[in-house]
């Protein structure tokens, strides 16, 4: 598959986000025999989004576990496996199904290092396909990231493109702390070149400037990065910078703040409800840290303070290019 053509190097392949995640998992499993994958339908089926396709065939049933239909059990037993020296990678099939595991994640997984005075570590990864835009039934389109960023002891990251999917899953697995990895399910089939050599990759905790601009900064992660890039592209009159947050907790403040200091304007975009959402933290932090650099208040674009709607209303609920640019307009009208 390797190609040598133009800017595409020998270690680059065109992969969908799902496939890139699959390749990353495969790399991690080849690299460390203690890595085990567990979840509902991850084995024979290869996951409902095919992220684990072929892994059980290649690594066996003891390393790729079709679990009972019990999310609390998936995370709880992952904790036990980690205590025994394994590096479990759990799949929660859809965002809305993580809540039966909430106790295990927030009360158990997040706290164990501290409770053991640093003697125990739990290198558990929890992968969660999240977000809407696929016309799905209830509980299949949610963005629960703020519940987890609110919980000390967890690292929370979100990938937005195939390259980061490939990289971040491997970095998450090698991370000694528990990592929640949110995967933008509506972007699973987006394809892009992926550099299979990790040496130049940004570290797990780093935000990246996905598009440079001068006039306003858009802060986004997961599925909204692409929406923001499209908005920036569509706006002919202003130069819009897009920062892909990537790591929600810990937040790479340096990258975020230096962008906002440069542009003086900031709009935060996510699918989750605006009220008490992760954007509230970004807005507050940016305001605190670079108040005198701001030309306008930090604005937020996101979902409403309602349960996720039936799919025929989701286009209203989800931020789109127009709503992002409307917020950009408002920051200039200040």
């Amino acid at each position: 598959m390797a190609q040598v053509e133009g800017s595409v190097t020998v270690s680059t392949e065109i992969l969908s986000l799902s496939r890139a995640m699959n390749e990353g998992l495969r790399k991690a499993m080849e690299h460390d025999s203690k890595v085990v994958v567990m979840g509902e339908d991850v084995g024979r089926l290869g996951g409902v989004f095919r992220v684990t396709d072929g892994l059980q065939k290649d690594f066996g049933e003891s390393r790729v576990i079709d679990t009972p239909l019990a999310e609390s059990g998936i995370v709880g037993t992952a904790i036990g496996l980690a205590l025994r020296g394994y590096r479990p990678v759990c799949e929660i099939q859809f965002d809305g199904f993580v809540f039966p595991a909430f106790n295990q994640i927030t009360s158990q997984l997040a706290k164990m290092r501290l409770r053991s005075l640093g003697m125990l570590e739990l290198p558990v990864v929890i992968r969660i396909p999240f977000g809407g835009g696929i016309g799905a039934a209830e509980h299949h389109s949610e963005s629960p990231e703020a519940y987890f960023t609110h919980t000390g002891g967890l690292r929370v990251v979100a990938c937005s493109n195939p390259s980061d999917a490939y990289t971040m899953i491997q970095q998450a697995i090698s991370c000694p702390d528990p990592v929640i990895l949110f995967e933008p399910k509506r972007r699973y089939w987006d394809k892009a070149p992926v550099d299979l050599d990790l040496s130049g990759a940004a570290p797990l905790g780093r935000a990246v400037v996905a598009r440079e601009g001068e006039d306003v900064t858009l802060l986004a992660y997961g599925p909204m990065v692409k929406t923001c890039l499209e908005a920036a592209q569509a706006d002919g009159s202003r130069s819009i910078e897009v920062v892909d947050i990537r790591s929600l907790s810990p937040l790479d403040e340096a990258t975020v703040l230096s962008s906002v200091r440069k542009t003086g304007r900031c709009v935060v975009v996510h699918e989750a409800p605006v009220f008490s959402g992760y954007g509230a933290e970004l807005a507050a932090r940016v305001t605190e840290r670079c108040f005198y650099d701001l030309e306008a208040p930090v604005l937020r674009v996101g979902g409403f303070s309602t349960p996720y709607p039936p799919s025929r209303l989701e286009d209203h609920y989800l931020p789109d290019l127009d709503r992002v640019l409307d917020a950009v307009d408002r920051t200039f009208a200040w």
Partner: protein, 372 residues
């Protein structure tokens, strides 16, 4: 040490019916007796069950077609499970309360829910379409097993009311692994709640065979919780009716919960987004085809001369009409209004939601102004 000690025998084709299975009508349509379960139905009642089976299959087929044509976003087919649903739901009295999962279209039919109202959530226009109190059928529950605790609490309410109603809760083989379901077993047992746990063991939780959920037959789980468990031929509508009726009578008369495991098969995909060819053999599907829940009743009706071909033709014609009517009315279902995003989240207007509604409505109007 082997990892798969609990896995049981490999799956290929289906073995003969498992031991202990309550059956009153064989796959060939022969009436058989069971020492613990009797059923005495009039010809009209049996014909009524047949009509239910044929119609819900037709409704399901129509919904599948609507999904393939893009009119529904997704559909979880009940095909193969008609007898489990019709038999159990026809055992309910009007005052009994049923808590479904998301595949119980046949139960909805028996509870008098207009079939088009079942389609709303799959068309993406609402989350649930019927009045749960009017039909004594609760909303569908997608998060697996959660409804078992709701059902248990409802049954505790019946006890406190001194009423003689009972509760039935539907779930699948996969749900038996969830904490909520096992907590419901514990609660209902120690409360002696008037509830029937009706497990449709359709053998597959998406791609995972039931051996992935349990090392023992599911109905025997009840032993450990301290109430009876029974395994019934889930493709035998008469047996499902008899077993459920007895369990409901027991609940009503203060004997507490029963677990009914209806041994059946999901003939289709988990939902229209699933591809079962990735994980199960066609031979298994074909073996279950021979145990079809509708065919055996038809065979019985003809063999016993309970009904003639003319009746069967009438039912087919009616089912066709009900299916066509469902299709027509599905296409006429209105899209939801924007305001439905914020309506009904709270009992009264919530200031934050009111603000969101006002701002977003004004935002949408700004497009009209631009285009004018």
């Amino acid at each position: 040490m082997t990892i798969d000690a609990a896995r049981g025998t490999p799956r290929g084709t289906v073995a003969e019916s498992p031991p202990g299975l309550v059956q009153l009508l064989t796959p060939a349509g022969e009436r058989v007796e069971h020492p613990d379960y009797e059923i005495d139905l009039t010809a009209e009642e049996i014909k009524g069950l047949y009509r239910d089976l044929v119609i819900v299959r037709r409704l399901d087929t129509e919904a599948l077609a609507l999904t393939r044509q893009g009119e529904l976003a997704v559909w979880p087919s009940l095909r193969g499970q008609e007898a489990a649903q019709i038999g159990s739901a026809r055992a309910l009295l009007p005052g009994d309360m049923a808590f479904p999962s998301y595949r119980e279209h046949g139960v909805a039919w028996c509870r008098g829910v207009d079939p088009v109202k079942v389609l709303g959530s799959y068309r993406g226009i609402n989350h649930a379409g019927w009045d749960p109190r009017k039909h004594n059928l609760h909303l569908p529950t997608i998060v697996i097993g959660s409804q078992a605790l709701h059902a248990t609490g409802y049954a505790m309410g019946i006890q406190r009311d001194g009423a003689e109603d009972a509760v039935i809760v539907y779930f699948g083989d996969g749900a038996t692994s969830e904490g909520d379901l096992n907590e419901a077993f514990v609660w209902s047992a120690v409360q002696n709640a008037p509830i029937v746990f009706f497990c449709q063991n359709n053998q597959w939780a998406i791609s995972e065979p039931s051996e992935r959920q349990s090392r023992i037959p599911l109905h025997r789980r009840a032993d450990g919780f301290g109430f009876p468990g029974v395994r019934v031929d889930g493709n035998d509508v008469l047996a499902c009716l008899a077993v459920t009726r007895k369990a409901l009578d027991g609940a009503r008369s203060g004997q507490g919960p029963t677990l009914v495991e209806a041994f059946t098969y999901r003939m289709g995909a988990h939902t229209t987004t699933d591809d079962p060819n990735r994980y199960r053999l066609q031979a298994e599907v074909e073996a279950w085809q021979l145990k079809d829940p509708v065919d055996r009743v038809r065979a019985y009706l003809l063999k016993s001369r309970t009904a003639d071909q003319e009746f069967l033709d009438e039912v087919d014609a009616e089912a066709k009409e009900v299916g066509a009517d469902l299709r027509r009315r599905c296409l006429e279902l209105p899209d939801p209004e924007l305001d439905e995003l914020w309506d009904n989240v709270y009992v009264a207007e919530h200031p934050l939601l009111a603000d969101e509604r006002a701002r977003f409505t004004s935002y949408l109007r700004s497009f009209d102004e631009v285009s004018r």
